[in-house]
């Protein structure tokens, strides 16, 4: 089929596939790439910088789509730790579950996980959007600086510990909030944000069922009362 290229990781070494995606694909006219037999390989489709549709068949190891720019990646399976870490733009859709640190430090783009995400989902988030169809594990959104996380299920312990400006929306229960995280009333803009993110991820829920978690900002200043004598 014109415009579609297929790789089988059981045959072609990953290094070659990534090189192709970094260099050759741009001028090739190929618009869709299928990667077969992911078989838990790490670092599939990392460091891309092309507006391209990529479909990965099977379960992926660590860092699928790491540092992604522009590419739209779909995984027909589960994703290992650090899926979409440091993503800048584009999108990553995981049809199954995601392991720890999903979307860690992502600066932009959309990470949509259909199943659950494990511990530390959205850690150090820097502006990306994460939508999780299921639940997230403990310590999610730790030190998240900017961006939005929507959790359609429940959240574990320590949600939003040491948050900066990122905002979390949770539909289910929160086992506990982390230091400096607090529930805040939902505003019209929050309902809109949740609606927009659910639509982008393709999940159907009523935004009115979500609660907002944001930073109380009490850690923003090391100690304002400090009478430190320089």
């Amino acid at each position: 089929m014109e415009g579609v290229k297929q790789f089988d990781l059981a045959v072609t070494p990953l290094r070659e596939v990534n090189r192709y995606l970094h260099h050759d694909v741009a001028a090739s006219g190929v618009e869709r790439v299928k990667i077969l037999n992911a078989d838990g390989a790490h670092s599939i489709a990392v460091g891309l910088n092309v507006p391209l549709d990529i479909e990965v068949d099977g379960h992926c190891g660590y860092y699928l789509g790491g540092m992604n720019q522009l590419a739209r990646i779909t995984v027909q399976g589960n994703a290992g730790p650090g899926v979409g870490e440091n993503m800048m733009s584009g999108s990553i859709r995981v049809k199954g579950f995601a392991s720890t640190a999903a979307g860690a430090s992502a600066h932009g783009g959309l990470l949509a996980i259909q199943g659950d995400a494990a511990l530390r989902c959205g850690i150090s988030l820097k502006g990306g959007d994460i939508v999780v169809g299921g639940s997230v594990g403990s310590f999610s959104a730790f030190m998240a600086q900017a961006g939005r996380i929507v959790v359609c299920g429940d959240a574990g312990d320590g949600l939003g510990d040491s948050l900066y400006e990122a905002v979390i929306y949770v539909r289910g229960s929160v086992r506990s909030l982390g230091t400096d995280a607090r529930f805040e009333p939902m505003q019209a803009s929050d309902y809109e944000a949740v609606r927009e993110l659910l639509d982008a991820a393709g999940f159907e829920h009523d935004p009115r069922d979500f609660k907002r978690v944001a930073s109380a900002k009490s850690l923003y200043h090391w100690n304002v009362d400090a009478n430190q004598e320089y």
Binding site: L14, R15, N18, R19, H22, H23, H42, S43, V46, G47, N49, G61, Y62, Y63, G66, M67, Q69, P81, G82, E85, N86, M88, A101, A104, S105, H107, R120, I123, S124, K126, G127, F142, M143, Q145, A146, S162, Y164, E165, L219, Y220, H221, W222, N223, A226, N227, Q228, E229, Y230
Partner: protein
């Protein structure tokens, strides 16, 4: 009020060794503030160091090279293990990672210009890569830190090498800190933070934890860069033997070990003085670890933490380092702790500004305040003007050039045509402590403590 001791008071004014004036001051300060002290630069306490080693120059038993005529190479290649494009430097003296945020963009530019003039590398820090440093640096090492502030794939591709920072000699195991007064709008934007917040940097990486994960992380960075760029791993010196071995197993091309004398822009004093081991001891352990794994010549070692002079560089190389990285010395070359700064070709006194910080030239460690009297570690638009990038570049070029000349002078005197041929046998120790830590015989004896 201080009492002048006349000598006639006897025991009535005897100072306590355990509760001396420094300790009293510390206790009073803690009682007044309820906070630990934060400061810049490195450990102030005296520890065994390169000063405690001397070279055995050539004489009858060895043949020296003619100091000014015979060639002595300083060429240094880093990252030969896996990278398709290793870093090639004209000297083993490199510039350590220091953040934009801690330093101004003008200082970063000075570093780049001086490094390029000398054919060496400079390194980004916790806060991302600035246009100024990229465009002024021929060879730029891009740090991947736990905070990932400003870390992005475009800059990864622009970098000449990537340094995964696990720790820093001034604070192994500790995260970072940049106090709000230095988080100006540009710094804030690069770090994706609101301006003015006291910014905390995490102590662990967000997307990997142990050494097994590090293998995978390193491979990800290699995949992203098509296996082109050397990957350095930097550790603060603590359990050096294990850490270096684990970093090698994880696939690092270059190991950077930062000893306890290494500097910082802002860290708890208790950390600076009480966590980590001296550079001398760390270097010996790192070299041993590399030898144990038979990786000498395959994995390169950069040592940092209190390297100040050409003699320090020569001693580090003789002990087995492939290169050194300098941070504080670089700042001092730019004017840190100098009584004046240069404006329009004239020296202008900064004494009053030091006084306002409660300090004086020679004692300043106030980088954390952002009010650096000589415009080096500041984001203040007025103060940063005190360092003209051209003047800074010139001073730093001179400093690095001097170190390089001292290094080759010593190497020639030891009969070496290449500074990398300096060896442990060229050194002896002046103190038992240094002999024990460096595993080098005490001068005038064959005795190495512990062997």
């Amino acid at each position: 009020m201080t009492h002048e001791r006349t000598g006639s008071e006897g025991l009535s004014l005897e100072e306590s060794a355990g509760y001396d004036r420094r300790t009293l001051d510390y206790i009073q300060r803690a009682a007044a503030t309820g906070l630990y002290e934060i400061r810049g630069l490195g450990a102030k306490r005296k520890v065994a160091s390169f000063d405690d080693l001397v070279f055995l120059g050539a004489s009858l038993s060895r043949y020296p090279l003619e100091g000014y005529r015979e060639k002595c190479s300083t060429k240094t290649v880093l990252g030969t293990r896996h990278a398709r494009k290793p870093v090639e430097l004209a000297t083993p003296i490199t510039i350590a990672g220091m953040s934009f945020g801690a330093l101004s963009a003008r200082v970063k530019e000075s570093l780049g210009r001086a490094a390029t003039a000398l054919g060496t590398s400079t390194t980004t820090g916790d806060g991302g890569m600035t246009v100024e440093e990229r465009s002024s640096s021929k060879t730029l090492v891009y740090q991947c830190l736990p905070s990932r502030y400003g870390f992005n794939p475009d800059d990864v591709r622009k970098a000449d090498a990537i340094e995964i920072v696990i720790g820093q000699g001034a604070k192994p195991g500790g995260g970072g800190m940049l106090l709000g007064q230095k988080v100006n709008p540009r710094v804030a934007r690069m770090r994706t933070l609101p301006p003015g917040v006291d910014q905390r940097s995490a102590s662990r990486h967000p997307d990997w934890t142990g050494p097994d994960d590090l293998v995978i992380k390193i491979n990800e960075l290699r995949e992203i860069t098509d296996w082109e760029k050397p990957i350095y791993v930097k550790v603060g010196a603590t359990r050096v033997n294990h850490d270096v071995k684990l970093a090698i197993h994880a696939g690092a091309d270059v190991i950077v070990v930062d000893g306890m004398q290494g500097g910082t822009a802002a860290t708890q004093t208790v950390f600076i003085e009480h966590v980590g081991i001296p550079t001398l001891a760390a270097l010996r352990q790192a070299v041993q670890a590399i030898d144990d794994l038979e990786m000498r010549g395959k994995v390169q070692l950069i040592i940092s933490g209190g390297i100040r002079s050409g003699a320090d560089v020569a001693k580090a190389l003789a002990m087995g380092a492939d290169a050194v990285a300098i941070g504080q010395g670089v700042l001092m070359a730019l004017g840190c702790n100098s009584g004046s700064y240069v404006a329009d070709g004239r020296h202008v006194s900064a004494i009053e500004d030091y006084r306002r910080l409660g300090t004086a030239p020679g004692f300043c460690h106030h980088c954390h305040t952002g009010k650096c009297p000589v415009g080096v570690t500041t984001q203040d638009p007025q103060l940063e003007q005190r360092l003209d990038p051209a003047v800074g570049a010139k001073r730093l070029t001179n400093y690095l050039k001097t170190l390089n000349m001292e290094l080759t002078t010593i190497a020639r005197a030891c009969g070496k045509q290449d500074v990398h041929h300096l060896e442990r046998e060229d050194l002896v120790a002046l103190t038992v402590e240094a002999a024990a830590m460096a595993n080098i015989p005490l001068a005038g004896t064959n005795w190495v403590p512990g062997s």
